[in-house]
């Protein structure tokens, strides 16, 4: 086996072991249908393996993995645009949409997750990339490196995300129903 190929395989295995669960969550943020989601996940893994042939270490493996995954998933959304897809909104638009039914976060995790997922899936790709990265625990600099938007812009978007989450979910016991 050529050295390049074994390096590619080793990098893929390292990425799949380190980010496998995160990639599945990411696929869920982009595709609600279970069968299509499975296909998307496999497409992401395939693209990732292919991409490692060109991985030059100029960015971290984490940045590389998330870029490939988001780019594949964004492509998936663009391809599906002719299908019956609900209109996507930006964080700014979402911020202005009234949502009177704030949910108590500790009441039912399943329901909270479903609601969070619906919120994420309604967003335009760029904002979806930011919110998913934020939920994965990445900081503004890392999100900026992955998405290509400026640190200031990422900070603004995260501020908006926090506001939206605070309005739609609340801590049990802190706010009255």
């Amino acid at each position: 086996m050529p050295a390049g190929t074994s390096r590619q395989d080793a990098l893929y295995e390292e990425a799949a072991n380190g980010f496998g669960a995160a990639l599945s969550r990411l696929a869920r943020a982009y595709e609600a249908d279970a069968d299509k989601r499975r296909d998307l996940s496999q497409e992401i893994h395939l693209a990732l393996w292919r991409s490692f042939e060109k991985f030059d270490g100029r960015c971290s493996m984490r940045t590389w993995v998330y870029r490939v995954a988001h780019n594949v998933a964004t492509s998936h959304i663009i391809r599906q645009r002719h299908a019956k897809m609900p209109a996507m909104v930006s964080l700014e638009e979402l911020e202005n949409l009234a949502d009177k039914n704030a949910m108590k976060i500790n009441s039912d995790q399943r329901q909270t997750l479903d609601r969070l997922m619906a919120l994420i899936q309604s967003l335009k790709p760029l904002d979806r990339q930011v919110i998913v990265s934020y939920l994965e625990g990445l900081d503004a600099a890392a999100i900026g490196e992955i998405t290509g938007i400026s640190a200031g812009n990422v900070a603004t978007k995260i501020y908006r995300i926090k506001g939206i989450l605070a309005r739609r979910f609340h801590e049990g016991g802190h706010c009255g129903e």
Partner: protein, 203 residues
């Protein structure tokens, strides 16, 4: 403080969710890559079969119909089909993701994908609709005239009506594509704004 607790709770719920993990060994990945290449090959083959079918049918017209306009129409249809097939093949090959899509930020990748689609839609006259028009037009009008010359009334009127309807269908397709291209342009403009904000921040 309350807000920070909430953010952590939401993040925990997100990260603790049960997901169906994709477990693919390198061997399976290689098999799938091979399968994907075969699928692409089959897609190309279907396109080639369609073109071969068109060439056979209209080639028959050229061989068996003595009328010059019918032969001309059939020749133009074959030429148009070959050109469109070449363009579909050329553009189809870029549907596959580039291997270096990890070195490109999501913003740049997304904008490039949208621009590629916008350009394809904007130029649809030159590479798809336009080449398919002359052949059928000559066949429709030439066929009508072949049955009866223009000075003999109704046959050619039917041919002209068919040609107008044919043109209207193509115009409608072009209009839908222009609307879709404008929609893509709005998305590209939004992404451009993000890029400009990045440059402003850098200064």
């Amino acid at each position: 403080m309350v807000n920070e607790l909430l953010q952590n709770d939401v993040r925990n719920i997100w990260q603790d969710q049960k997901v169906e993990a994709v477990q693919l060994s390198v061997q399976e990945i290689r098999q799938r890559a091979g399968h994907f290449a075969k699928q692409t090959g089959r897609r190309n083959l279907r396109e080639y079969i369609g073109v071969v079918f068109a060439v056979l049918v209209f080639g028959f017209y050229i061989l068996w119909f003595p009328n010059f306009t019918v032969r001309l129409g059939a020749s133009l249809t074959i030429a148009g089909a070959l050109y469109v097939a070449y363009q579909l093949h050329r553009r189809g090959s870029t549907r596959n993701l580039p291997e270096n899509c990890g070195s490109e930020s999501c913003l740049d990748f997304h904008r490039r994908e949208l621009e590629r689609q916008r350009d394809a839609l904007r130029s649809i006259w030159s590479w798809y609709l336009g080449p398919l028009i002359p052949g059928p037009m000559v066949l429709i009008i030439g066929g009508g005239f072949a049955k009866r010359p223009p000075w003999h009334g109704r046959a050619w009127i039917g041919a002209v009506v068919s040609a107008v309807l044919f043109s209207l269908v193509f115009l409608a397709i072009a209009r839908f594509n222009r609307i879709a291209a404008r929609r893509l342009q709005r998305q590209i403009d939004d992404l451009e704004e993000c890029s400009k904000a990045k440059v402003r921040d850098a200064w």
